[in-house]
């Protein structure tokens, strides 16, 4: 269920390497923003990196494996019909890939792979994925295991309840209530230790929302961005209540100690925030629920 085989298409790697050789660096790096259309960012074919860095390795290999979520509408979601991943985190991942000179729309070059919360650190550390971009909060505990670039988005923990439920208005009402979240997330820990809720662990948020809809649990808790996505999918059944009771900084998780890769990612995030691709990404995903694009967070080069 959790482990999927990583596929490394050798032939594609050779092709990309050949293409990189023939395409002489003629483009300037300034024209890589798609202006306003909301399309995926243009591939930066001129990208070149110092030999030996992770960026150079990924570019010459011609493929990057990006860990993400598949059950968070608006943030990171796999469309059941097309099989394609979509959402704000996916857009950020595509910006990173295009800066590496990889085509985000070519599934051979940019592979998205679902990674559930509890497996994230392990998969980053073992190299099962090259980078984790999927509602991944930067925390001190996790910093011991992986390095983070970003934050590229800030949200906070909230509650999703049934539309006709007036008994839960905020985290203070959770005592003894059954609250669903995913195993290994910080959210499930907070509602139990801080607010005395009776936590119900599942593997994915979709499963939690199913249990909320069928009445098996009283609330679902996680980052507001994710909950808003679910609420906007079934506005007649579900609603998000209360103010955010935590601050979650979404970062990109990478192998610990890879300073070059981290500064590249931080530069990429800052660049996207400055040139408007960040806002385009937001408006075409989370912004669709009627939320205005907030001011992007400041990158923390710790």
């Amino acid at each position: 269920m959790f482990l999927r085989r990583a596929v490394f298409p050798r032939r594609a790697a050779v092709l990309v390497a050949a293409a990189a050789l023939t395409a002489t660096a003629a483009c300037s790096s300034g024209d890589d923003t798609s202006t306003g259309s909301g399309d995926t960012p243009k591939v930066d074919t001129s990208a070149s990196f110092k030999a030996g860095t992770t960026m150079a390795k990924l570019k010459s290999k011609g493929t990057i494996v990006i860990g993400t979520k598949k059950d968070q509408p608006g943030v990171a979601f796999q469309n059941a019909a097309s099989g394609k991943f979509e959402g704000f985190d996916i857009e950020m991942a595509k910006i990173v890939a295009s800066k590496l000179g990889l085509d985000p729309n070519d599934p051979k070059q940019v592979q998205f792979k679902e990674v559930v919360s509890k497996n994230r650190e392990t998969f980053v550390r073992t190299g099962t994925i090259d980078i984790m971009i999927g509602s991944y909060s930067i925390t001190d505990k996790r910093k011991k295991l992986v390095d983070f670039a970003g934050p590229y988005y800030v949200t906070g923990q909230q509650l999703l309840v049934k539309k006709d439920d007036d008994s839960i208005k905020g985290p203070e009402d959770l005592k003894g209530k059954k609250v669903c979240s995913v195993t290994g997330s910080t959210s499930i820990d907070t509602v139990e230790t801080k607010y005395g809720a009776n936590p119900v662990p599942f593997d994915t948020y979709t499963e939690c929302v199913d249990q909320l809809k069928n009445g098996s649990v009283d609330a679902v808790t996680t980052d507001g961005a994710i909950l808003l996505g679910f609420a906007s999918k079934s506005p007649d059944e579900l609603k998000v209540v209360g103010d955010a009771f935590s601050t979650e900084n979404y970062g990109m998780g990478l192998k610990k100690g890879d300073a070059d890769f981290r500064s590249f990612l931080n530069d990429t995030i800052e660049g996207a925030e400055k040139d408007g691709t960040w806002k385009t990404a937001f408006d075409s995903t989370l912004g669709k629920a009627g939320v205005k694009a907030p001011k992007p967070p400041k990158v923390d080069r710790y």
Partner: protein, 215 residues
């Protein structure tokens, strides 16, 4: 090491749920398994067919699939129950199929002539099973049932992904909070399962001795 000591309470509470899951499922599975075995040797073809179909379906379906079926399926039938009971249903439905086959193999060790003799002196099918066949069959079925229940105790860990805060959930949570102590945590929780399974094995060895007869 200190992580295990500091969270001994949490770990023990979690193992208590693991044990409750295993014990309740074992009880249900053995009762259902014996009934199914009786049905499989019944003189009535439809009853035999029903039990055989049950075994074929539940023994050959992955346990995870059964969990999904019961955890997500039951509420759609307006059957609302706790996650504990849904896990017990999934675990015992699955395990009962194996218990049934173990008991049936035990029944096959009892000489056919004994059952025929019992029927000849006027005992009903039920009485024949209860007083003549099953007491001897169980003796032969004890070792395989022990193995099945050990597998059951370990299978309870799947309930973690379906709303149960048992031992494996506790391992996942503590591993999140104390990533540096991962190997200690893994070792500690694994040791808990090993002890649980050794206890089950010990109980069954005792049963084997109790029920043994000199031949």
């Amino acid at each position: 090491m200190h992580v295990l000591a500091d969270h001994a309470d949490d770990i023990l509470t979690a193992f208590a749920l693991t044990i409750r899951l295993a014990a309740m499922s074992a009880l249900c599975a053995v009762v259902l398994g014996v009934i199914l075995a009786a049905m499989r040797v019944s003189p009535s073809p439809p009853v035999r067919l029903a039990a055989t179909s049950y075994v074929n379906v539940f023994r050959n379906t992955p346990l995870l699939l059964l969990f999904i079926l019961f955890v997500f399926g039951l509420p759609t039938l307006n059957l609302q129950m706790s996650f504990y009971w849904r896990a017990v249903i999934a675990l015992s439905a699955y395990t009962a199929a194996f218990v049934c086959e173990a008991v049936r193999s035990g029944i096959n060790t009892v000489d056919r002539g004994q059952a025929e003799a019992a029927r000849a002196i006027g005992m009903t099918f039920g009485k024949t099973l209860r007083y003549v066949v099953l007491p001897q069959a169980i003796r032969a079925a004890i070792p395989p049932i022990g193995s099945i229940l050990i597998a059951l105790a370990r299978n309870t860990s799947i309930a973690e992904a379906f709303g149960n805060r048992e031992a494996t959930y506790q391992l996942d949570s503590l591993a999140r909070d104390f990533p540096d102590a991962l190997y200690w945590l893994f070792g500690g929780i694994a040791l808990g399962y090993v002890i649980l399974c050794l206890l089950i094995a010990a109980v069954f060895r005792l049963l084997e001795h109790r029920l043994a007869v000199g031949r």
